[in-house]
């Protein structure tokens, strides 16, 4: 039974249930009036029929691959399982290929595994089909029982809908938990091979040299300091550009520009925020980096073709609108009375802005800068395309550096098996990234909220 026909069964039974419930309610002749309209009873019956079946079906389908994989493994002879990991991986690939193409090969073990797989799949599907039918029909039967009319159908439906709404709002939490666990688990497995200390304080990063499992740790090639430093260098360059420009833009637009200019300039600048990062990456790699290199060489500096400067500048431009719109918000929140106080003493506008408005808005601006920093740290495409892979331990913006995100991408986009230390290292880096951006965000949001309350 294919997945789509299973869903169709659920749907069909649900429809029957609806008709049954509605017809019964329409033909109801009791001593008291029904509490809800007939179609409410129809829906209620349909819910009884399809929701449990649907939940079961989804859960079943989610865990079926795991079960089937286990079945394949069990079918393999001990010798096959005792092979080295790479070979086993290859073996599995062959089996999956054979299953997909549904053709027999000449390897007895593979054929056996395929057969075993197909048998298990058949079992699994028959069982779930039966279960779906049982659940769907019992819903209909419940709808046929006397029970139906004792209920206030509309209220019951609304309870179900409300539960659904609540569930949906919980997706955010599930996502967060999912992120934490998926990153954490793999990272912990990584830290079983490489010590946390070596990872966080080690100054040499060359995961490519430790392909073999037994080399991990001993070679100490998972020292992430160059990545952290590179990330901070590029982010710092980006912030050095974005913070002054973004802040001055916000100041000019909110304190000086006419309403008309502001109304057209703000959306125009927002365009910068709407451009996909891959476009910035292209621009940084193909236009800005060569340009900087040329300029640098014309004054006798040696500039790497993938300099941190190029990536940093372009990233800075990308976050200008981010900084400016956040600053704009906080600057506008400074009460006019504050400005009046300063102007009334004979201060010029710039004096008022520099000495009163900005200090008053400072907490909010700091919060905005932290958010921008978290943006810069987590930004991926620009650095993947414009910064290098060279894990140099340097703070020279003219040299090539690499970042946490670049390494995550590099480690995970090759043809890797999932469990190699290289891929696990990517998750360890992901964990660092998640923690640092989370901390920055939480602090920033806290500061901004405190600031807002202050001027409420």
């Amino acid at each position: 039974m294919s997945v789509s026909s299973l869903f169709l069964i659920v749907l069909g039974l649900g429809f029957i249930a609806f008709v049954v419930g509605q017809q019964r309610a329409a033909g109801y002749e009791g001593d008291t009036r029904l509490k809800s309209l007939p179609h409410h009873y129809g829906f209620l019956t349909a819910i009884w029929s399809s929701i449990p079946a649907l939940i079961l079906l989804l859960a079943w389908l989610s865990f079926e691959p795991v079960y089937l994989q286990k079945q394949i493994e069990q079918s393999l002879p001990v010798e096959a399982l005792n092979q080295s990991e790479e070979v086993l991986e290859l073996y599995m690939n062959n089996i999956h290929l054979a299953i997909q193409n549904n053709q027999a090969g000449d390897d007895e073990v593979v054929n056996n595994a395929v057969l075993h797989y197909q048998r298990s799949e058949l079992h699994s599907r028959s069982l779930i089909t039966a279960l779906v039918f049982v659940l769907g029909l019992s819903g209909i039967i419940a709808g046929l029982s006397r029970l139906l009319f004792r209920l206030h159908a509309r209220v019951s439906i609304e309870k179900v809908i409300k539960a659904f709404l609540m569930l949906c709002s919980g997706v955010a939490i599930v996502t967060t938990v999912g992120i934490v666990f998926s990153v954490l688990f793999e990272a912990i497995r990584f830290f079983e091979a490489v010590s946390v200390f070596d990872f966080i304080f080690g100054s040499s990063w060359s995961p490519q040299t430790s392909i073999r499992v037994d080399q991990v740790g001993s070679s100490g090639s998972f020292g992430a300091v160059p990545l952290f430093l590179g990330t901070m260098l590029i982010s710092a360059i980006a912030l050095i550009i974005a913070v002054p420009v973004g802040l001055m833009t916000a100041i000019y637009l909110s304190e000086y520009a006419s309403a008309r200019f502001r109304a057209s300039a703000k959306p125009a600048l927002e365009i910068l925020a709407g451009i996909p990062t891959v476009v910035y990456g292209f621009f940084a790699a193909l236009t800005v980096a060569p340009f900087i290199r040329e300029v640098g060489e014309s004054v006798g500096l040696s500039v790497a073709s993938e300099s941190a400067l190029a990536a940093g500048i372009v990233m800075g431009v990308m976050i200008i609108p981010f900084v400016s719109s956040l600053s704009d918000d906080v600057i506008s929140a400074v009460p006019q009375a504050m400005r009046d106080g300063s102007l009334g003493l004979g201060a010029t506008r710039s004096e008022t802005i520099k000495q009163v408005v900005i200090p008053a808005a400072l907490p909010g601006i700091v919060g905005g800068v932290l958010l921008a920093a978290s943006r810069a740290i987590g930004e991926t495409m620009i650095v993947v395309m414009a910064a290098g892979l060279a894990a140099n331990l340097t703070v020279n913006p003219l040299e090539a550096v690499t970042t946490v995100t670049v390494q995550i991408v590099t480690l995970l986009t090759g043809d890797q098996e999932f469990d190699s230390p290289k891929t696990l290292a990517a998750f360890a880096l992901g964990l660092m990234l998640f923690i640092s951006t989370l901390v920055l965000n939480v602090i920033a949001l806290h500061i901004v909220r405190k600031y807002r309350e202050h001027y409420e």
Binding site: S258, A259, P335, A337, M338, R339, D340, G341, S342, L343, G344, L345, G346, A347, T348, E351, Q355, V356, P359, A360, L362
Partner: protein, 279 residues
């Protein structure tokens, strides 16, 4: 809402004749002279053909129902309304004979000479000391730190705040109580040694005790400054001012010695207002 009420009250009494200001609106040797001033916000006129003199070392109280243009009038005197994009002023306004709206009159300089205290205390996000030192610093009035210290201390003393804050001059201005904050704002204004101080309902956000202190202060300040104060409280106007001007719907209705206005108002609307019939 307020506006609706007042105009209704006015029309019910049939008193909407704003022909000319009653009383002694013009005096000799005025510090500030306003002649035939009209103020517009865009299309909307907020002040109509108003002429008024403000005397030297005097306190003049501006009273009237909410929305009648008191704040607007006050803000025209030091060009604070320059900050409002669509605000226009016409007529002649002079400070010691100099045209306030002349091209050559610099608004920065003008505001250094005509200071302003606002309705809500608005200390800067700085220390108490820096709040008071703000004006002298931007204008470069002190040549040394010692001189600046002296300006700050005398200003705080004049504002009657020094004794209360002398041990915590580095504490933020916002850490003070409402009444103290308002006196800080007054000290801040005095520190620039203006010739005129405009006060827009300076005590309306304060409790009675703080209000009493401020009123006392205003009376003392009269020695050195010319003061125009907007107030909602008749008692306050009576206590602190020498002259009183009554505004209604943008028109200056009546001006006179404070004692005379409160004992013997000539215009029916003035009487209605001070006896609490509306406003």
């Amino acid at each position: 809402m307020q506006q609706g009420l007042t105009s209704e009250a006015g029309s019910v009494a049939g008193l909407n004749n704003f022909e000319a200001t009653i009383g002694e609106n013009l005096i000799d040797d005025a510090k500030i002279s306003v002649r035939h001033a009209d103020v517009f916000y865009g299309e909307k006129q907020a002040i109509f053909d108003t002429s008024l003199d403000i005397g030297r070392n005097q306190v003049i109280a501006l009273i009237g129902p909410s929305g009648c243009g008191k704040s607007t009038f006050l803000r025209t005197l030091n060009r604070m309304n320059d900050t409002i994009a669509d605000c226009r002023v016409s007529g002649s306004l002079t400070l010691d004979g100099e045209d306030i709206y002349d091209k050559k009159m610099d608004p920065v300089l003008l505001r250094a000479r005509v200071g302003m205290v606002f309705q809500k205390p608005n200390p800067f996000p700085k220390s108490i000391y820096d709040n008071v030192a703000y004006g002298p610093r931007i204008h470069g009035l002190a040549r040394s730190n010692a001189e600046l210290d002296e300006i700050v201390i005398t200003s705080l003393e004049k504002a009657g705040l020094f004794e209360e804050v002398k041990d915590r001059l580095t504490a933020p201005g916002t850490s003070l109580s409402g009444g103290q904050q308002q006196r800080l704002c007054i000290a801040r204004t005095i520190a620039v040694s203006p010739e005129v101080i405009l006060m827009d309902e300076p005590a309306s956000a304060l409790d009675p005790i703080a209000t009493a202190i401020i009123e006392e202060l205003i009376d003392e300040l009269r020695e050195n400054f010319t003061i125009a104060i907007v107030t909602h409280s008749m008692q306050q106007a009576a206590r602190v001012s020498q002259r009183t001007a009554y505004f209604h719907l943008g028109h200056l209705v009546e001006v006179g010695e404070t004692s005379r206005i409160f004992t013997n108002p000539r215009h029916q609307m003035t009487e209605n207002y001070i006896t609490g019939k509306f406003g």
